[in-house]
Symmetry: C2
Subunit: 299 residues, 2 copies
């Protein structure tokens, strides 16, 4: 089953203790698509400026990503600049230049409207809701958000999550959104609002899933070669949604396995700058990493 | 097989967001023994003052803990005062009163000297080494340490760990001890010094085991009722060493299972003040918690 993602396609300039890269292909929809495409057909809704090079488009289309929903607007593409210091747990944003993204209004092409799996990356919650009004009877809708939207539009974020089947957010966002002091209470509160499944991303500490009466936790893979964490969360979401769409069922067992695939894809992502780490994997690479995770928690 | 623990027996005065408790029975050897005694015979080497009440001794002996190695000295028992704020990740020490512990010199009774499993809690590394000179051919010696000893006696700590089979330390201590930036590199460095097995305690994020060519990670149990984290690390060590001694073999599989038991016992510990959470468990309680952890990571 296919996956529709609505988010950003951008250029990132990033510095980490391992170097600097300027104007790399990035953005939430890009990282998501680069991960999910290993498992299923991916349809992208985003906006780019007229400065976007054809190599960027080719990079995605040659990997089977459907760009029919990619709008091209007169102007410059979204750009983000950041630096990671020390343990790289947190990016320090140096500049955000929305450019054509400022007036982004997602339009879902007719051929996308029956997408069974839908991922709403962290854009304005009103735009996320706008997407939901355009799709027809999806099997599962998952949504991300970020501190910026929680601070400015908490009610909109809550309403959006209430109308989604799954939240895929990080631990700090879950606490900020709910005002709770622990992750289990935050997850319970979000689920009480109508979101069936809550996935909490914990960076190097792995991920948690709350679904039905069950909780699932996967630790992070102990890594020594983290080069750039940018996009790890969206890559997790891409692995998670891609695998879930491939399994084509929303059972507890499928959700657990999809968290495992999300963590595996995120672990590749952080090993390279931008999408370098996930651009050219083989099925054997992915199977091997998934086995590493299974072995890590075998008891 | 029995376990020998050398550490502190103390009175703790602790404040957390859930309340205040004054002069609770505490100390590393106490928490360790209270956890390990569910699995095997525990022999304690520590020192108390003449102010120590008989109820404290009864509390331990009635739970089958062997106190032949508990020295009683004229003076006051070790006391510690601390407060945990906010997310309770870190204790803020308000006062440390070593009292009789200041001149503690561990003497291993003859009946303890053939203990197959030995745990050296975080006392002066010279005293830890002194214990090792007194025991005969143990199957496995594990040692803990703390930031204080790493700052003041790094070489002694390194030498002690080199002569131990296992290190059971927390993540911050592993990084501080080795100067490495990641936990896998720190574990590799410690193992390179001669310590076969390295267990890293990560608090709410669980624990890691590095042994042979293998890595094992267990996430923390998502909890909403953490009342007092005091002694969680020593309780983990007690569950780990107790289970390992009960299994009576040092294989990768036994080590993994013992980490699981360590995490399970630590999760009970934090649910109550001092040793309240682990004082009166049934085998069913422990089996149930272990199953919760197995289910948590089932994929």
């Amino acid at each position: 089953m296919s996956v529709l993602v609505v988010g950003s396609v951008a250029f990132d300039t990033v510095e980490t203790p391992h170097g600097v890269r300027e104007e790399m292909l990035g953005g939430s929809a890009t990282h998501f698509a680069c991960a999910a495409r290993y498992f299923t057909e991916v349809k992208v809704v985003a906006v780019i400026g007229s400065d976007f090079p054809s190599e960027g488009l080719e990079f995605l289309t040659s990997r089977g990503v459907d760009l029919e929903g990619l709008q091209v607007r007169d102007g410059k593409t979204f750009r983000w600049e950041a630096v990671y210091r020390g343990d790289m747990a947190q990016a320090e944003t140096l500049g955000t230049y929305l450019n054509v993204f400022e007036d982004f209004s997602p339009v879902i092409p007719e051929s996308y409207k029956d997408s069974p799996f839908v991922f709403l990356a962290n854009i304005d919650p009103e735009l996320q809701a706008e997407v939901l009004r355009q799709v027809r009877a999806p099997v599962l809708v998952a949504a991300d958000t970020m501190n910026h939207w929680i601070a400015d539009r908490k009610e909109s974020v809550r309403n959006l999550l209430a109308s989604a089947d799954a939240a895929i957010i990080n631990d700090a966002e879950a606490l900020m959104l709910t005002g709770e002091e622990t992750i289990p209470l935050a997850a319970q509160e979000i689920r009480g609002g109508g979101t069936n499944h809550v996935v909490i991303k914990k960076g190097e500490h792995g991920a948690l899933l709350f679904t039905g009466e069950s909780r699932f936790a996967l630790p992070g893979l102990p890594m020594t070669d983290v080069r750039d964490p940018t996009g790890a969360g969206d890559t997790f979401a891409g692995g998670f949604m891609g695998r879930l769409a491939q399994l084509a069922e929303v059972t507890e067992s499928a959700l657990r396995e999809s968290v495992l695939y999300g963590c595996a894809m995120a672990s590749f992502n952080v090993q390279g700058f931008g999408v370098e780490g996930i651009a050219n994997l083989t099925p054997e690479d992915i199977d091997g990493r998934v086995e590493e995770f299974r072995d890590l928690v075998r008891v």
